[in-house]
């Protein structure tokens, strides 16, 4: 039996506006740019892809299934700039063939710094998804598939999840295959699903690469690769960015046609089927334990944190941001807390990456800044202003009771 388990990551960051040391106002985000990118991606990817998957689900009457992880910051932007996309996601949710996964609302790296903040964001995301789509996620994926044993143990302890996702990196698997269900070390109940990065990347990265020996990739060929897993695996976990459809791989590469034909080709083999992550977890027992003492992620060749925290600027910005946690939360000011949380969006740190020479091209493509230095300067200027607001707020709170007393005395 080989089950194909698709999960698509859907995320758009809230990009900062150009903010200099001379700026004073409290509006940090580039609404115009965010709106136009959101609408552009909606038209090129979200709308056509959602329509396609809706068609496929209807055509295969319950035999074709997929999963999404939608970040909170994306949902907010869709609500504001492209509400029609939200309604198509809702239509997908209604089919019963689509599962929504849980993650941090702000697509943040908070697990690495503050477990409190991390859990608050996870819970906020659970509530948001339940409100919007009527299902409470049972599967967790951390930002950029950042994962280690501690994370698994923490998520099991919440009792809210059945499984967690991670990158099927060679160095954690060794000789083993990603095509089975595993158990994280230190867990009794929670299961682990690992991304089959080779097959996932064939679609997400290599699909349109004409120098690739397998180009052009047809649905038939891909289905053969999947079918060959039969007998030595149970699930093929294809995890990728949703923007693969129409944005990273443009429509004229044939990516939509490929996807439209894929279910048919996969289902031609009688032993194949499609399952959502929850169904995979229910269908298969864990075949072994995976020990991941060190962090893995799905990024770059290194599969580590170096894309976000690889240079002194990144660590500094990250550290300075989380240093404010207590003070910010103490204010109880919703706007202030929301601004602080939006600064946690992992993309802000990704923009500061200086690993130019190998993965640099990918980094550059998604980067609204000319250089990582510009992005750091901008971020730090915003953070400075936020810190100032926080301090002023505290001052006011201290003064407020005194003023009340004065008022009473008068």
């Amino acid at each position: 039996m080989a089950s194909v388990c698709f999960y698509f990551q859907v995320h758009q960051p809230q990009r900062l506006r150009h903010y200099t040391v001379f700026d004073r106002d409290e509006h940090y985000f580039d609404d115009y740019k965010n709106a136009s990118i959101c609408r552009k991606v909606a038209n090129k990817c979200y709308l056509p892809a959602n329509r396609m998957f809706l068609d496929l689900i209807r055509r295969y009457k319950g035999r074709f299934k997929i999963a999404y992880s939608l970040t909170g910051v994306l949902l907010e932007q869709l609500q504001a700039y492209s509400p029609e996309v939200l309604s198509t996601f809702d239509a997908l949710a209604q089919t019963g063939c689509v599962e929504f996964l849980g993650e941090t609302y702000y697509h943040s790296l908070s697990f690495l710094n503050s477990r409190n903040e991390f859990m608050e964001q996870v819970n906020k995301h659970l509530d948001t998804i339940e409100n919007l789509f009527g299902q409470r996620p049972r599967i967790f994926r951390n930002t950029e598939l950042i994962y280690n044993n501690d994370l698994a143990v923490l998520m099991e302890s919440t009792g809210k999840f059945d499984a967690i996702l991670a990158e099927g990196a060679d160095h954690i698997l060794g000789y083993r295959s990603p095509n089975f269900v595993y158990q994280p070390k230190g867990c009794q109940r929670l299961k682990l699903l690992l991304k089959n990065y080779a097959l996932s990347d064939d679609i997400a990265f290599r699909f349109s690469n004409r120098n690739w020996t397998e180009w052009p990739l047809t649905a038939e060929k891909f289905a053969q690769w999947v079918s060959s897993v039969n007998g030595n695996g149970q699930t093929v976990n294809l995890f990728m960015d949703y923007e693969t459809f129409g944005e990273h791989q443009w429509e004229d590469t044939g990516i939509f046609d490929f996807m439209r034909h894929l279910p048919e080709e996969i289902l031609k083999h009688p032993d194949n089927n499609f399952k959502t992550p929850s169904e995979v977890v229910d269908s298969y027992e864990a075949v072994g334990t995976i020990d991941v003492p060190h962090i893995v992620s799905w990024a770059d060749i290194e599969r580590d944190l170096s894309a976000w925290l690889g240079n002194p600027m990144q660590s500094n910005a990250f550290y300075e941001l989380y240093k404010l946690e207590k003070k910010i939360k103490k204010t109880g000011d919703e706007k202030l807390i929301a601004d602080w949380r939006k600064l946690q969006i992992s993309d802000h740190f990704y923009y500061m990456c200086t690993k130019y020479f190998s993965d640099g091209d990918v980094h550059k493509y998604f980067n609204p800044y000319d250089s990582p230095y510009d992005s750091y300067i901008n971020f730090m200027n915003v953070l400075d202003n936020l810190r100032g607001r926080c301090a002023r707020y505290q001052q006011q709170m201290q003064q407020a009771p005194q003023q009340q007393q004065l008022a009473c005395a008068v």
Partner: protein, 424 residues
């Protein structure tokens, strides 16, 4: 392979980047085993001492070899031509020489009988004539001429010898003078570029100027970026600079002329000082806008925060780099710009103008539009305020600058020479 190279300055006779570039390129060509006959105009009345013993020719040529450059032969043509001179300053210079000569205060042999022409235009022609004479006795395959003053000489030698000519553009009249170009200089530059078999530009930025403003066919123009000479972490300074300072130092280094954008530096300084107090701005260099800049600093009310050092050389340069926290180059139009590389070699992070050739080869530098004073100030403040930014820029920048080697520039030139010698 032998190159007949027409330069106009060579260490230690340096007043700007051109001499450094010629030295770097020649030395690297030498290491590639390519022979160079280096011709340069030389003012007879020089007060500099040099390890190259230069003979004053009258009409006879002189030639010298420098020890470490075994394939390079130096020839000098007696002439008061110097880079970065204008017609006016040339006139003054010639008059000065004549005056001193009358007083009998000049030193050095063989002055008598020299015939200086009264204006720069004739002098460029005279240099051409003398270079042609000099070329007669030389054996070479290609002619490589650096910047406009040598172009007529290059053309003459090419015509007489029938060898291919390359003109190398380190700066154009538009860089030096903005829109107020000297028509004579422009005409010579244009003529040189059009008559040359190939044109080498020091950057894509300059290549675009050559194509757009001089109407040169794009397929004739190659880009050869400059390298950087010193690959260490700056020089060791005797009498270690032990500066205990509470103040940050932001450095401007270069000629204080329109081209280098000193007024943008000062306006940015003014803005920085609005939000930071413990900063001093140092302007190292001299030039025709120096007095104006001093007045401007005073006018902006930041006179006490801006220091003018005048032109610095040798150890003083090293010392100022040791003191500086940041180097800023707000050039209005910079064909290449070697000074930021020097700053990075000395562990000083740099902010450079986007209107420069060097911004094409440096990634680990902050880049600004020269006119965007607000952004220059924003970036200055950021570097001074956030140590991780300074550290990252400094470490990665220093590493990056080591990869910009003259060897690669020379290899590109060698390829151009070879291409030209293929019979059509």
């Amino acid at each position: 392979m032998r190159v007949f190279m027409l330069g106009w300055e060579f260490p230690p006779f340096i007043s700007g980047g051109l001499g450094t570039a010629c030295y770097g390129l020649t030395k690297a060509l030498d290491q590639l085993g390519i022979g160079v006959t280096f011709v340069l105009p030389r003012m007879v009345d020089s007060q500099y001492a040099t390890h190259v013993k230069l003979l004053c020719p009258g009409s006879k040529q002189s030639s010298e070899y420098i020890k470490e450059l075994k394939n390079v032969k130096f020839c000098t043509v007696s002439s008061p031509l110097q880079p970065y001179t204008t017609s006016d300053s040339y006139q003054r210079m010639v008059e000065e020489i004549l005056r001193r000569k009358q007083k009998g205060s000049t030193s050095g042999p063989g002055i008598g009988g020299l015939n200086y022409c009264g204006d720069m235009y004739s002098e460029v022609h005279r240099y051409a004539a003398m270079a042609a004479q000099l070329a007669e006795g030389e054996d070479f395959d290609v002619i490589h001429a650096h910047d406009w003053m040598t172009f007529l000489a290059g053309i003459t030698v090419a015509t007489l010898s029938g060898k291919p000519l390359i003109v190398h553009i380190h700066s154009t009249e538009f860089d030096r003078s903005g829109e107020n170009v000297n028509q004579m200089v422009y005409d010579i530059e244009r003529k040189g570029m059009h008559l040359a078999d190939r044109v080498v530009a020091v950057s894509n930025y300059t290549r675009n100027i050559i194509i757009e403003r001089y109407g040169v066919s794009p397929d004739k123009v190659d880009v050869v970026h400059n390298g950087s000479e010193n690959n260490g972490n700056g020089g060791w300074v005797s009498g270690d600079v032990d500066i205990k300072k509470g103040e940050k130092i932001v450095l401007f280094m270069g000629r204080i002329t329109m081209q280098k954008g000193p007024e943008y530096f000062l306006m940015a300084a003014k803005k920085v000082l609005e939000v930071m107090d413990n900063v001093k701005f140092v302007m190292a260099g001299s030039g025709d806008l120096m007095r104006k800049s001093i007045e401007m600093a005073a006018g902006l009310g930041i006179g006490h925060k801006v220091l003018f050092t005048g032109f610095l050389q040798g150890e003083a340069v090293q010392r100022i780099y040791k003191m500086a926290d940041l180097f800023v180059m707000p050039s209005v139009s910079e064909p290449f710009g070697l000074v930021p590389l020097e700053a990075l070699q000395n562990d000083v992070p740099v902010i450079i103008s986007k209107q420069s050739g060097v911004s094409e080869v440096l990634r680990h530098a902050l880049k600004v539009d020269f006119w965007d004073v607000n952004e220059i100030a924003n970036k200055i403040v950021a570097v001074l305020k956030y140590p991780p930014l300074e550290t990252t820029l400094r470490n990665y920048g220093n590493f990056e600058v080591r990869k910009l080697r003259w060897k690669d520039a020379a290899a590109k030139c060698a390829k151009i020479y070879a291409d030209m010698l293929i019979p059509v």
